[in-house]
Symmetry: D2
Subunit: 134 residues, 4 copies
């Protein structure tokens, strides 16, 4: 079993909206915080751009939850793109959202995508998502 | 040709991040602003929850763009759910993102989904997305 | 009477929090949007940093307000610093907040404050705040 | 010496703006996070509104700082209002901002201020700010 990368994020009061729960756009910020930590640990820096994102919202997060936890697993590594499966859970373990996110490593100065090298591919492979069983 | 609903949103300095462009999570806020306006005009109130969202990020938005424009068309109307195709364009007309969003009308007090009535279905049908031609 | 600079800002759903109104930190974003527009029009660019801010929160802003309006007047011009009096009003004209803000023009590359030139001082003087009468 | 309440907040990528540092309005969110924790611990709930805020911005916070720390001390307790002195520090201990904030405990249903009781006053007194020495 490949390990899953986990990262905890604090829920801020500012994350809520007038429906009394965390606003849907903030779920992307929670995922981003975890993904930045993943990139930093596995690839050495958190500089990338998001090119595609699919997300299913499954449950509310409320300020009273205090923290959420994001699990990240690698689904696919392309030449410059990385597809991750990202699960957002409340502190109690309930699944609040599940996302599939395609990112591309980015060179800010050259304004261009950066390919993964062999060492980075090997590191990413350690976090390969387990095949889903029916 | 069904009409497309259009809504303009101002780009705020606060929408940017340290990569110098509008942060990806804020694209969802731009779409939300337009969707709220769509719900308000077509259905009478903007109370709904997002249950699924797919988005392809195609181009940067920068603060210098000043405004973005969102086009919304209806792809599918379910019992309580609405699937919209949402295109985010810079003021110059360039496509910055394309999204497909599933929302459910929401009764805050009952904490339950609200079915569309016949009149609402008729109004939504006016904004039906044109079939894509290859 | 010196003219007052006015700028309108749209209230976004994302600006609210779980108390059902616009979050207090977002008032600063509304002021910032107007101040950026003021800097752009009067000084040619909106690059500055905020060094001090005082704000009295007088009334709630709600999503249903749709827009707010900010009025900016110049209280004092220093060598590199500008003190503005900024009033946030709901669309209906009610005062939601009053602020005094000290900003400094900023050179991002040099990471240093930029003095106002004579032409800029003259332009700022056109927006001088009227003395308050008791 | 009265103890100072301390609270740590994680810096998010989304907190930055295109100047490459944490946006000034986000400083208020950092203070709010700490103040909520203070209210929760000392008064039992974090329901209040901000009526006045003064803040001096002293230094940049950057994403690379990872965390900031807020120190809160009580300056004055009124019938329903609380004045706190709030210092924002980078992880390294550098002062990034100093604020004085007046808040009022709030009853959401009654839409009215709530007086502090004797026990709450006693608890707040434990965090009284030390007088400043020249």
């Amino acid at each position: 079993m490949a390990p899953v990368f986990e990262h905890q994020v604090s829920v801020r009061w500012r994350d809520t909206d007038a429906l009394g729960h965390v606003n849907n756009a903030v779920y992307l910020t929670y995922l981003e915080e975890a993904r930045d930590a993943f990139y930093l640990r596995v690839l050495g820096d958190p500089i990338y751009v998001v090119v595609r994102l699919e997300i299913d919202f499954r449950a509310e997060v409320r300020h009273a939850d205090r923290t959420v936890r994001v699990e990240i697993a690698v689904e696919r590594v392309g030449a410059t793109s990385l597809t991750t499966r990202e699960i957002l859970r409340t502190a109690g373990g309930r699944e609040a959202a599940e996302a599939r996110v395609v990112t591309v490593r980015w060179d800010q100065d050259a304004h261009a995508a950066v390919p993964f090298n062999d060492e980075q591919r090997a590191r990413l492979a350690e976090f390969a998502a387990s095949p889903r069983t029916p």
